[in-house]
């Protein structure tokens, strides 16, 4: 099993979710995060004091998928998340030994 982790632009969440469902993903976990990167940030002003804020809102997705599906899912995800503008985010894959569905105790591909 593999864990696909992506950090994307928040307004792309819906499209990405749809694309991943289309690629066969049946479940995923979504986290509100802030991202630091090339996109840079913005300036905020409070009573004349300027603050440089270099964290921008992003959404993180984690989906554990069967090894066989990884390529297709990542591809679908990238296609949906891409706007071509800086800050579109990253997707990366890592290894998972073991996944269990808590409700049933099913393991591996049956659990996701």
């Amino acid at each position: 099993m593999k864990q696909i982790t992506a950090v994307i632009k928040p307004f792309k969440l819906d499209d990405v979710k749809t694309a991943m469902k289309g690629a066969g993903v049946q479940g995923m976990t979504v986290t509100e995060v802030k991202g630091f990167g090339r996109q840079g940030g913005h300036t905020e002003v409070y009573r004349g004091a300027e603050y440089q804020v270099d964290l921008v809102p992003k959404v993180r997705l984690d989906a554990v998928v069967d090894d066989a599906d990884v390529a297709a899912v990542v591809e679908a995800l990238i296609a949906a998340a891409n706007t071509g503008d800086i800050g579109d985010g990253k997707v990366w894959v890592s290894d998972v030994f073991d996944i269990t569905r808590i409700r049933t105790g099913e393991k591996g591909a049956d659990a996701v």
Partner: protein
């Protein structure tokens, strides 16, 4: 001259109440926006609290209330630059029945009217949420206040041509609600839809804020309507009770309809219905009695529930339903007065309403007033909006809309709940 201290106390208080409505409106709308645009919504409203009073003492008041009672189109410059404002006697304000009876200092009357001048353009903010350049708003508001608000206020509240015709508007069904509602419609037509609307869900970011705003609006509306009696008398009393009952009935009607239709009674529905009731009773408040406010409230609750879905049908993005609630609700109330006006409540009612046996005369006058107000406000706003669009532009860039208006227009964030210090 000896003023009536009771009347003065009540109108002072009412003025404070109505002023408080604008922050209330800011919260009412602010809760409905997305979190990245909440400050911009608050700012659009706050800005009205700032710029309108400045204009009012200089020129707005005199354009609205100069030469009161002249059956005309616009005030003159008798109070230009606050001239005589602090010393003129009520009897000198205008010669018609209404001003003749005024027993409060003119400066209180002016402050009370100012609060109306503040909140009316603020109402428009709900329609243009999430995409209007703040600079455009900063320019639009003074222009609209002078070119649209002051004239219409003159026509109706200062004994201008509509009042002379016989149309009645106790506290601003035309001057405030239809006026702002028609302007809102014009502006959203120019401005276009929010990116993503209507496919992308844009749920309210904080309904507790909206409910607080509703509470403040409800509270302040007592000043709005009962204060419009400009005295602490039986008419104020009737206006107060009518306001209360119509708001309540509007809420109940909306809740019942949505419970039946959508399966759930919602907080936003309760708030919307109450506001619809308040809007509709505004022109009627000091002119009706008995169970009339109940009927008006129930009616407008149902009507506005359906009116707010027009935008999906016609495809204009009236974001927070200013047209559906204020234009339609104000129209409903203005016409309803033609049905329910009751001379036993207020001697200014010379033609009673249709349901009270007074025939259709008043109803006709009300329809004319509605048409005139809506037509004028719509066209004039279109022109003002178009001019701004062609000069500095109405709409923010797509990137700014995506980032949110709080950051792009104001360099601020509404919430910083996570702390890193």
């Amino acid at each position: 001259m000896e003023y009536d201290a009771g009347a003065t106390a009540w109108v002072l208080m009412s003025s404070a109440l109505v002023l408080f409505m604008t922050p209330g409106l800011a919260l009412f709308y602010g809760g409905m926006t997305r979190s990245k645009n909440v400050l911009n919504m608050l700012m659009m409203n706050l800005y009205c609290v700032g710029i309108i009073p400045v204009l009012w003492v200089i020129v707005g008041f005199t354009l609205a209330f100069g030469s009161s009672g002249d059956a005309g189109w616009l005030g003159d410059f008798e109070f230009l630059g606050a001239k005589d404002l602090y010393s003129v006697l009520p009897g000198d304000l205008g010669t018609n029945q209404f001003f003749g009876a005024l027993t409060i200092p003119v400066v209180v009357f002016s402050a009370f009217q100012l609060t109306f001048a503040v909140i009316t353009p603020a109402l428009i903010s709900g329609a243009v949420a999430d995409r209007l350049k703040f600079a455009a708003w900063a320019l639009f508001i003074p222009l609209w206040a002078i070119l649209v608000y002051s004239p219409v206020a003159h026509w109706v509240f200062a004994g201008g041509w509509l009042a002379d015709l016989g149309a009645l508007d106790f506290a601003g069904g035309a001057v405030v609600h239809m006026n702002a509602g028609a302007a809102a419609l014009a502006l959203v037509l120019l401005l276009g839809r929010r990116k993503g609307w209507p496919d992308t869900p844009m749920p309210p970011h904080n309904l507790t804020m909206t409910m607080l705003g509703t509470g403040i609006l409800f509270f302040g509306w007592f000043g709005f309507n009962a204060g419009s009696a400009l005295a602490a008398d039986g008419i104020a009393a009737a206006a107060f009770m009518n306001t209360f009952v119509a708001a309540a009935a509007g809420m109940i009607a909306w809740l019942v309809v949505e419970w039946l239709k959508d399966g759930h009674p919602t907080t936003l529905g309760a708030c919307s219905g109450a506001v619809a009731g308040l809007v509709a009773i505004t022109p009627c408040a000091g002119f009706v009695g008995g169970l009339s406010p109940l009927y008006i409230g129930l009616g407008v609750g149902v009507v506005c529930y359906f009116a707010i879905s027009m935008k999906y049908k016609f495809g204009y993005d009236d974001s927070l339903d200013v047209v559906g609630v204020h234009l339609i609700g104000g129209l409903f109330g203005t016409l309803a007065l033609g049905l329910f006006a009751d001379s036993s409540i207020n001697g200014l009612v010379t033609n009673e309403g249709l349901f009270l046996g007074g025939g259709a005369d008043l109803l006709l006058d009300q329809a004319i007033a509605a048409a005139a107000t809506i037509g004028f406000a719509f066209v004039a706003t279109m022109i003002i909006g178009k001019v701004i669009d062609m000069t500095i532009g109405l709409r923010v860039s797509e990137a700014d809309e995506l980032t949110g208006l709080d950051l792009s227009q104001h360099a601020e964030a509404g919430y910083n709940l996570a702390d890193h210090s």
